[in-house]
């Protein structure tokens, strides 16, 4: 490390910010062979920053009161200068955030980024996903439209099926049996508190990444410095280009297709006396909603929906094979894409009315999801011949 300069030396001896930045973001050794899928972490960081910045200004203009929430969101869309842009940025941001999150996780699954020594990187990442889900759920209630109210009611009813504690705990947390003013106010506080908690966990996630170093498509860690490149300028320039493409997609959504992924029903103010014909979740919750509906028992549906995420947490224990990349594991190379397909099919099923066909699709897809993680992975990791 070069000797600190006079002025920066003062700071360096007390808080080595500059040398840490230099070490972790300029000289940081990166594998040479990373592909485009490794840019999604950067996309997530940028989207999260945009969400917090736009959310701050939305919060300033939002009123967490069931008689005024809907009107205050309408005012943001109509009368507040550039309010339509902020809200669109925030709503489009949720879609971009979840899309990147799912791709980021799929990449980790494909290239075995959850294996030793990266277990904590994987677990903090999954923790972030859960936190983002809670935040998105709370945020979706805030506009107090029909889907806000009835979507949250579906989740609430699911929570009520947990024996003994389900009902009392949810009533305690939301201040009543059904959603009311107390619930709305608390969900508003939860929404932005979680957002800042997410920032803290991102710091943990990134720190863990810098300790264990990034995985790469071959799944074999570089051993000599010759097999690496410094983060700057190689990956800063590549992520910069990738970010421009990412932002073009994001801008397309915000400026040209603002209604593509929103449900028109949510522009009708919440009415506890009128149940919408079909209650649909936003696309990013659709796979879990499909599981909830595919099981005849309500508690069973809840357990399986939670279980579908729990298997991901257990993955480092379920898959004991030292080989990381699925490209070197013939059976995983077949089984894992089917699991991805199952997730997508569950998502599509969750956005359609629960007809017989869609229920069968949901059940088959759900079955494969669990079979892949609970049966295929443990068995394969014991006996597979790695290529």
């Amino acid at each position: 490390m070069p000797a600190p300069e006079k002025t920066s030396g003062w700071l360096e001896r007390r808080l080595p910010v500059m040398s840490v930045l230099r070490r972790e973001y300029i000289a940081f050794p990166m594998p040479r062979n990373l592909n485009a899928l490794w840019s999604f972490g950067a996309f997530l960081m940028v989207t999260m920053a945009i969400m917090i910045a736009s959310g701050l200004f939305l919060a300033i203009n939002y009123t967490p009161d069931i008689t005024q929430a809907f009107a205050s969101v309408e005012a943001i869309d109509r009368q507040i200068p550039s309010g339509w842009f902020l809200r669109s940025l925030h709503m489009g941001g949720v879609t971009m955030l979840f899309a990147c999150l799912y791709i980021h996780i799929a990449r980790s699954l494909w290239y075995g980024s959850y294996k030793a020594p990266r277990e904590l990187l994987w677990l903090t990442g999954l923790g972030l996903m859960l936190m983002v889900m809670v935040t998105a759920f709370a945020g979706y209630v805030l506009p107090w439209g029909q889907m806000s109210y009835w979507g949250a009611t579906v989740v609430l009813n699911a929570a009520h099926t947990i024996p003994l504690i389900g009902k009392p705990v949810s009533e305690l947390l939301l201040g009543g049996e059904t959603l009311g003013n107390t619930a709305l106010h608390r969900l508003f506080v939860l929404h932005f508190t979680m957002a800042f908690a997410i920032v803290a966990v991102i710091a943990l996630h990134v720190t863990a990444l810098h300790v264990v170093k990034p995985n790469n498509p071959s799944g074999i860690d570089p051993v000599s410095p010759k097999q690496t490149l410094p983060f700057h300028p190689y990956y800063t320039s590549r992520d910069g280009f990738a970010l421009c493409l990412f932002l073009m997609v994001y801008a397309g959504l915000v400026f040209f297709l603002p209604d593509l992924l929103t449900l028109a029903d949510n522009y009708v103010q919440a009415n506890p006396l009128v149940t919408p014909r079909d209650i649909r979740p936003e696309w990013y919750f659709a796979p879990f909603y499909a599981i909830l509906r595919a099981v005849p028992s309500r508690l069973g549906g809840l357990l399986l929906a939670v279980g579908s995420l729990a298997v991901l947490f257990a993955l480092p224990a379920l898959d004991r094979s030292p080989t990381r990349s699925a490209t070197r594991r013939p059976l995983v190379r077949l089984s894992l894409p089917l699991a991805f397909l199952s997730f997508i099919l569950l998502g599509v099923a969750g956005m359609h009315p629960p007809t017989e066909t869609w229920l069968i699709v949901s059940r088959l897809a759900m079955a494969w999801w669990f079979i892949h993680f609970l049966v295929v992975m443990p068995l394969v990791s014991e006996r597979e011949i790695t290529s």
Binding site: A71, R78, Y234, F241, M248, A251, G252, F255, F256, Y267
Partner: protein
Amino acid sequence: MSRLIRNLILVASLPPLFATLPACASTPAQRGLIVFQQVCAACHGMDHVDYGDMAAFGLSPDAIRSWAADQQIPNGTDDNGDPKTRSATPADPILSPYPNEAVGRLANHGLLPPDLSRLAMTLPGGAEQIRRILLSYAPTPAGVKLDDGRYYNTALKWKHIGMPPPLQDGMLTYPDGTKATTQQMATDVSAFLNDVAHPHAAERRRIGLYALAYLALMALLTFVLQRRIWKSRPQ
């Protein structure tokens, strides 16, 4: 001399250019606002839309002020507890003419005229369905018995609606000279309601083009930068 002729031709060509534009050029949505003011507003409001928002439809500040000033809106109660009203301002919402839901229902055979703020978005079929409803009134066929205050309308699943046929040929005069046929007014007012349901849509697309152009340029530059940096990487 030839220059003079050229200039004369140029000047002579200008009036026809202006003549093709009506005295007051207006878009379907701008004409739709007139239909709303003179027809729809008799029963419907747009709770979330302010009079001032109508500037988006080319209404001048003075026109907005005078339209708002003609509307009386609730203003608390006086010392005896009787309801008071005041003239609206451009910052007030375009409320329903009925002071409350009960009065609205009483005046319309128990049905409440819906708020129009987001109707073109929330009604299945959108603005096109609004247009279809306005043009699908027909005499009640023999053998069909409708309740009081229901009107035969083929655009709806149950073939009836609580809104009496609102449009008649020539019921209003467009300042731009367009003939106010039922067809024309239905087209105009559905365009207006579509814009009301999607506020700032034109501005959104305009800014979006700049944003995309900027990002495309940045993508090109960063791509070149990235290529050059990676070319010189140590082997």
